[in-house]
Symmetry: C2
C-alpha cells in the first residue's frame, strides 16, 4: 500500500455500500466524498470499465413502463423532495429511490409505441433520524404522497452515510483507539467491517445499531484472513456513539499474512505459479444473436424479456415471453423474477459470532454490492454489459458501470440427440448443440462474492444458478494444529491454516418468481409420485409408481419441503389453456442440489428468515409482497416475512400467483477454501411442461463446419 | 426407405448390439454378416467417422498394464480358444472378451519403461447353449484356466448372435407373420425391438428368454412413436422357438407418423424451421492443452489418468492422479471409476409393459451401445476422439470408431473471484476463468441416448454428469384427448399426442468409484450436520449447526439414504495422511439432484436392482465385485448385487475401499419430450476436501486479451 504512511482516512463513498463495508483506515482524520460529477464521468472509473458502452447516462430517457429511473428522473425526485414541507426544515436520508412500477394490469396492457405510463418513484426516507416514510413521487405532476406502511419493527437498508458516519464515530472514539493499540495493532494496517446486528431481543430494539470488527492488512491484500479475534464494537447508527466494546480474544494471535494474497500481480512471480493452459474462448465472429432494444429489452432466439439492475434485488427479469415455434405467438412465461433475499447464518453461538446472521438484500442491498464485471474473466469476450444507476442517501444519482453482462454460452453440450445403429440401414446420428443466453451479475457482499446467473435456453427452460466465491469469514484461534485441540472443544468450523478457523455457515437465496403461464390466472399443482402396490394376480410386478395431481387450493397446500422418498413435480399451470390433446399448459420448478435450514424455528434469526422454513411457497400476487424477509429487514423481528404472509392461507387456485424458491448451501469450510474459495454453485430450473405441443427445438439446425469461424493465435496475425 | 420393397432381412451385425436392438425387417429371408476385414477398415465406416484418427488398429500394441486388448490380442485369444478341448467339438459363443486387469497391487507398482505385466484376457463363454465358463487366457503362455464362479441364476450379456438368431426365428414363425398381417401391418414397414424379459419367477427360469415388440416405420424414421401396442412375442434364445404370443391391443390404432421425424434433412424445409443462431464455437487456435500418450494416458493441467473404452461399462477412468501444485508430487485420487449398471423400470404393471425393467449394462453392454460421436455436435470442434475395439461372439475383433471424445470446455464460468470496493483504494477485481477437461461417451441404448461426461477441473474436482436424450418408450392408446379418459382410469403416463402415451419410468445409473486418496488404505467418514440447542444463558442464539464426524467401521455404516433434513457430507479420507494443520486428506462425494427408487423392496425388479436401495454404499475392494447388479445379470434373481454383498457388513475402516453412488431420475413424460427429448441431465461431484493445503488454483492466471485468438467468419476468409 503505497499510501499507508499517509495519516488519513480513505472513505466509503457513494459508489460503494459494500456489505460489511471495508473501511480502510489511515491515521489522518480528513476525508472527502467524491463529487457527483465524477460519479457520472467515465474517466474516473476507467479501471472498472469495459470499453463497450458509452457510460454517460445523463441523457437517458425511459422507453418502457418498467425501465429504471434515469439520471434526470433521479434528479427530479431529489428536487421534488427537497422542496417538500416534510423535508424542508429537517435532516433526512433516502434509504432507497426506485422506480415505482405501474400496476401489473397496466404494464401487461401497455404496448410499444403507446404513451409511457405515468412515471413514479418509490422513496424510503428517514427524517430526523426517527420517522420512516415510504413515499410515492409522481414525476409527471410533482405530487408526493405518503404511503401507509403500518407498524413494522425493522429499519430500511443501510445508507452509505450510515456506514461512513459509524466509521468516523468509531475512529473518533478514544476507547476504540486505545483498544486497538492495546492489541498491538498499527492503526495504519487496520481494515474494519461493519456488520448488521440482527435482532435478539430488547437490546436490539428502538435504536439502530451496528457492530464493527477489524482485521490487519499488514502484508496482504487479503485482510479477511487476518482477523483481530474477539474484538467487537457496538455503535448506535444515529447517535454515532460507541455503545459497547467487547474484547475477549486478547490471547489469540492474528494469523500470518504469508500465502494469503491472491492477486495475480503478486502471484505470477511465485515459483509454483500454474503453467497457463492454451488460450480458449467462445467465439462468434458474426457477432451475438441477441439484441438489446431501448437499453433493457433483450431478444434472443425465441425469448424476449426486460432486464434491469436493481439496488436491492440485483437483477430483475420481467415480462419473459417465449415465441411458440408452432404458432409464432409470443406467450407469457414470467411477469417478474429476482433474488428477493439472502440469509447467511454462521454457526457459532459465542460472543463475537452469534449475531452473524446476515439478510444481505434487505440489510445492505444486493444490487448495491454488485461491482463492475471483469470483461474477460467474469464474462467471456463476446459479452454485452449493462450499467446500473442508483441514488445516494441525499438522492444524488450515480452510475455503477458494467454491473450486468449478457452473453451466449456454448460449453460443448448437447441439446438433443439420437443415433441409430448403422446396421439398420438408417444412418441416423442427429445431434443438436446446446447454446444458451446467460445473464450474469456478481455481488461482492464484503468477503463473499455471489454469482447470479439467469440462463435462458432455446427449449424454453430457464436455469437460475448461484455461485459462491470470494473469501471465507474466518475466526482467529490459538491453535495451529488439530492435535492441540482438547477432545470436547467445539471449533465451530475447520482449522484451515495456523490460527485460522473457517466457521460453518449456511447460505440461502430466495427467488421471487411471478409466473404468468399464458396469462396471470394460474394454479399450482403438486404432482406427487407415489408407489402403488398391485393386487394379487394383477401383475407379475408387486409395485409401480403413479403420478397423482393435487391442485393447491390455499397457500398452506403449497408450503413444500422437498423429500427424496416422497417426491413430487411442482407445476404452475394455466387451467384454461390446454394443449391439443388436453394437457394444461405449464412450467415446473425443478430443484437441484439444495440445503434446508435446520435452525430452531424459534431462534430469532430463523424467525426473521422464516422464508427458509420451506423450499417452495406460493402466494397470491400482491405488489407490496416482494421481499421474503419483509420490506424493512434491518433489526426486524420477523413479523412480516413470506412465512407470516403464507400462513394467512389465502386462496391461490386459478389466481395470479407468485412462486418462491429458496436455494440453500451448507458450508463446512475446507482447506481448499483458503485463502480464496473456488466457486461452488447450485441451480434450479423453470422448465416447460406441456407448455408446448412438442419439443420446441425439434427444428433447430446442427452445427455445420462451413459456418464455424477460422481462428488464429493473436501472435500469428 | 429406398429398400423397403426388397424382401430381405437387414441384419444385426457385429458392429451393433444395440440394446432393444433395432431389427429392421424386410421380407426377403437372406442376410449376410459383414466380413471381419470390413469391420477393421475405415472406408466401410466412413459415414460414422471423424477425420482425426487413423482407424487402422491392426498394429496396435499395449503400453500400459490397463490398456485394453488389441486386435492382435483378440485374435490370439480366439486362436487359443478354438484349439482348446473345451471348444473343440462344441458350438460356443463368447459373451465377452476383455482385458483381465492385473492385480491392483501390481498395477500400482508398475512404472512406465518397465516390462509390461503379463497380458491376460477374461472370457465369458457359453458352450453348447448350456454351460457358462469364465476363463482366463494367458496371452503370453497360451494357458487357459477356468475360473470358479459358483452358483448364479443369471446369464451373461446378450451376444449379437443371440439377437440375430431370435429375429430370424421370429420371422420364420408362421404365427408371427399371421399376427402381423392380422394387425394390418405391411411387413416392409416393421421394426422390432428385442427386450430383456427380466425375472418374475418360475417362467423365467432355466431357459434364456427374450421378448420382442414391433413398430411401424411407415412415414417416419422415428418408428419409436408408432408402437403396435399390446403385441408381445416371447422367444427362447437357445431353441429359437416362439414360446408365446400375447396380442391384447387389437383395438388400439398405430399413432400417426406426422410430426414425428427429427432428421435435419426432413425438417430443414419445414416452414417452422428455427432461424439458426449466429455461429458460436469454443476455439483454441494454439491447440488443446492436453496430451494423450500411448493412446490411453491423458495428461491435462495437473491431472493424469488412464482412459479406455469398455464393452460393458462404456468408459473406464483409471489411475486418476493430481499433481499437487505446492509439492509437485503426483498424488493418487481414484484407482478406477466407471458406470457399473443402469436400472430403468417402467411404471406400468400391465401385460405388455410390466417386464420393462432394464439393467442395460449387464443385459446389453453399455459400451457396446456407444455409437460413433458426431464430431461437430456431440463434441465441439476442438475434441480428440478415441476408438473402441471389441469382440464379436466368435471372438472376431472389430473397431467402434470415435466412441469417446476428450475436449477442453469453457462456458464463460468463473473459477474463483473477488472484487473489493474501488473506494478502498484497493483496486481489486481478481477473476479466474473456469476451463475444464471433458471426457464424453454417448450410449444409444435403443430409444434412449445416455450422455456420460467425466469433467475434470483444475481445482481437483471431478464432476460426473449423465444426460438423457433420444426417444421415449411410448404406449399406444385409443384416446386422442384427455377429456375422453374415464376418471378412474390410470394411463400410467402422459398423453403426448393423439394415441401416444409416454409411460412413467425411472433411470438409475450406478457408479463404481474406487477412490485411493494418497494410497489405498482409506476410510469413509459421514460428516453429519446436526442442530445443537444452546443452554439457557449461553448465547442470544437458540441454536446452531455442528459437524459431527462418524467414521464407518463396517459396510452397514455406509449404506446411505440422502436426507435434506438430516444432511451429511461424505468423505473418503486417508487417515494417515494429514495436512500441515492436521486435517486428514480426503475427497467428498457431493450429490446433485437425484431420485430414489420407491418400488417395493420385494418386487422382483427391485431385488435384481437392489443397488438402488441406497444412494451411497462403500464396500471393501475386491476385484471380482465390480458390477452393481452382479456378474451375470440377464434373468438374474438378484442374489449377487451390491446390496447382498454390502449386507455381509465387512470391515471398511482404514482399508482399500470402493465408493458407490447411484444417480436417479424420475421421468413423468411431457409433450416437450415428443417426438425426441431435449437433454435432461444431472450430476455428482468428487471434490477435494482438505486434500490440498490450500486452494490449488490460487496461482492460476486470468485471461488476457493479448492471448485470445483472432477469429473471422468462414465466409470472410
Amino acid at each position: 500500500m503505497e499510501a499507508r504512511n499517509l495519516l488519513r482516512f480513505l472513505f466509503l463513498s457513494l459508489i460503494s455500500v459494500a456489505a460489511f463495508v471495508l473501511v480502510l483506515t489511515f491515521l489522518q482524520l480528513s476525508y472527502q466524498l467524491p463529487r457527483t460529477v465524477e460519479l457520472l464521468d467515465c474517466a474516473t472509473n476507467s479501471a472498472w470499465r469495459a470499453s463497450r458502452n458509452p457510460c454517460n447516462h445523463a441523457l437517458d430517457t425511459p422507453h418502457h413502463p418498467l425501465d429504471p429511473l434515469t439520471i434526470r428522473e433521479f434528479e427530479k425526485v431529489r428536487s421534488i423532495l427537497s422542496s417538500h414541507e416534510l423535508f424542508e426544515s429537517s435532516s433526512y436520508a433516502l434509504h432507497s429511490v426506485d422506480l415505482e412500477e405501474p400496476e401489473k394490469t397496466l404494464v401487461l396492457k401497455w404496448k410499444k409505441g403507446e404513451t409511457l405510463l405515468p412515471r413514479k418513484a418509490s422513496v424510503v426516507a428517514r427524517v430526523d433520524s426517527k420517522s420512516v416514510y415510504v413515499l410515492t413521487v409522481d414525476l409527471g405532476t410533482g405530487n408526493l404522497t405518503v404511503r401507509e406502511t403500518g407498524e413494522h419493527s425493522g429499519y430500511p437498508m443501510l445508507t452509505v452515510e450510515d456506514v461512513t458516519g459509524t466509521t468516523l464515530a468509531l475512529f473518533a472514539s478514544a476507547d476504540f483507539n486505545r483498544t486497538i493499540v492495546q492489541r498491538g495493532i498499527d492503526l495504519a494496517d487496520l481494515a474494519c467491517l461493519p456488520i448488521s446486528t440482527g435482532w435478539y431481543g430488547k437490546s436490539e430494539e428502538n435504536r439502530r445499531l451496528i457492530k464493527v470488527q477489524c482485521y490487519s492488512m499488514d502484508g496482504t491484500a487479503n485482510f479477511y484472513m487476518r482477523p483481530i479475534e474477539g474484538l467487537t464494537f457496538l455503535l448506535d447508527l444515529d447517535t454515532k456513539q460507541v455503545v459497547e466494546i467487547s474484547d475477549t480474544g486478547r490471547n489469540i494471535p492474528i494469523p500470518k499474512a504469508a500465502d494469503t494474497d491472491y492477486r495475480y500481480s503478486v502471484l505470477q512471480e511465485d515459483p509454483h505459479a500454474m503453467k497457463p493452459l492454451n488460450p480458449i474462448s467462445i467465439e462468434q465472429p458474426k457477432g451475438p444473436s441477441f439484441t438489446v432494444e431501448d437499453k433493457y429489452l433483450v431478444k434472443w432466439a425465441n425469448w424476449e424479456f426486460h432486464l434491469k439492475p436493481d439496488a436491492r434485488a440485483g437483477v430483475i427479469v420481467s415480462l419473459a415471453k417465449f415465441r411458440d415455434p408452432d404458432t409464432g405467438e409470443l406467450r407469457d412465461v414470467m411477469y417478474k423474477g429476482f433474488s428477493s433475499e439472502l440469509f447467511v447464518p454462521y454457526m457459532d453461538p459465542t460472543d463475537a459470532w452469534y449475531f452473524k446472521t446476515y439478510l444481505d438484500a434487505g440489510e445492505y442491498g444486493f444490487g448495491l454490492q454488485a461491482m463492475p464485471l471483469d470483461p474477460l474473466n467474469d464474462c467471456p469476450r463476446n459479452a454485452y454489459y449493462m450499467d446500473g444507476v442508483f441514488a445516494a442517501a441525499d438522492g444524488t444519482p450515480y452510475v455503477r458501470p458494467n454491473m450486468i453482462c449478457v452473453f451466449e454460452s456454448y460449453a460443448g453440450d448437447i441439446g438433443w440427440r439420437h443415433s441409430e445403429s448403422p446396421i439398420t440401414g438408417m444412418e441416423i446420428r442427429e445431434v443438436r448443440p446446446k447454446v444458451t443466453l446467460m445473464v450474469r451479475m456478481v455481488a461482492s457482499v464484503g468477503n463473499y462474492d455471489y454469482i447470479v446467473d439467469w440462463d435462458f435456453q432455446t427449449d424454453g427452460l430457464i436455469r437460475v444458478k448461484v455461485g459462491l466465491s470470494g473469501m471465507l469469514m474466518v475466526k482467529g484461534t490459538t491453535y495451529d494444529n488439530i492435535n492441540q485441540i482438547p477432545n470436547q472443544e467445539n471449533l465451530h468450523g475447520t482449522l484451515l491454516s495456523e490460527n485460522v478457523i473457517g466457521v460453518i455457515h449456511d447460505h440461502y437465496i430466495s427467488f421471487y418468481l411471478d409466473m404468468d403461464i399464458d396469462g396471470s390466472e394460474n394454479s399450482f399443482v403438486n404432482v406427487n409420485i407415489k408407489r402403488q402396490q398391485t393386487s394379487p394376480g394383477e401383475s407379475p410386478r408387486k409395485s409401480y409408481l403413479e403420478a397423482i395431481r393435487n391442485v393447491a387450493k390455499t397457500e398452506k397446500d403449497a408450503q413444500i419441503k422437498l423429500k427424496l422418498y416422497d417426491p413430487s413435480e411442482f407445476h404452475v399451470i394455466n387451467p384454461s389453456k390446454k394443449t391439443r390433446v388436453g394437457n394444461p399448459a405449464g412450467y415446473k420448478i425443478v430443484p437441484g442440489a439444495t440445503a434446508a435450514s435446520l435452525l430452531d424455528l424459534e431462534d430469532p434469526p430463523q424467525i426473521r428468515a422464516a422464508f427458509t422454513n420451506n423450499q417452495i411457497w406460493v402466494t397470491p400476487y400482491n405488489q407490496s409482497e416482494q421481499w421474503a424477509a419483509g420490506m424493512f429487514v434491518y433489526q426486524s423481528h420477523g413479523e412480516d416475512t413470506l412465512a407470516t404472509r403464507s400462513d394467512r392461507d389465502r386462496a391461490i387456485e386459478n389466481k395470479d400467483i407468485v412462486l418462491w424458491y429458496t436455494l440453500g448451501f451448507h458450508h463446512i469450510p475446507c482447506q481448499e477454501d483458503f485463502p480464496i474459495m473456488p466457486t461452488v454453485s447450485s441451480s434450479f430450473q423453470l422448465k416447460p411442461v406441456n407448455f408446448f405441443e412438442r419439443n420446441p427445438i425439434l427444428r433447430s439446425p446442427p452445427n455445420l463446419e462451413k459456418d464455424l469461424p477460422v481462428c488464429k493465435p493473436v501472435a500469428s496475425v
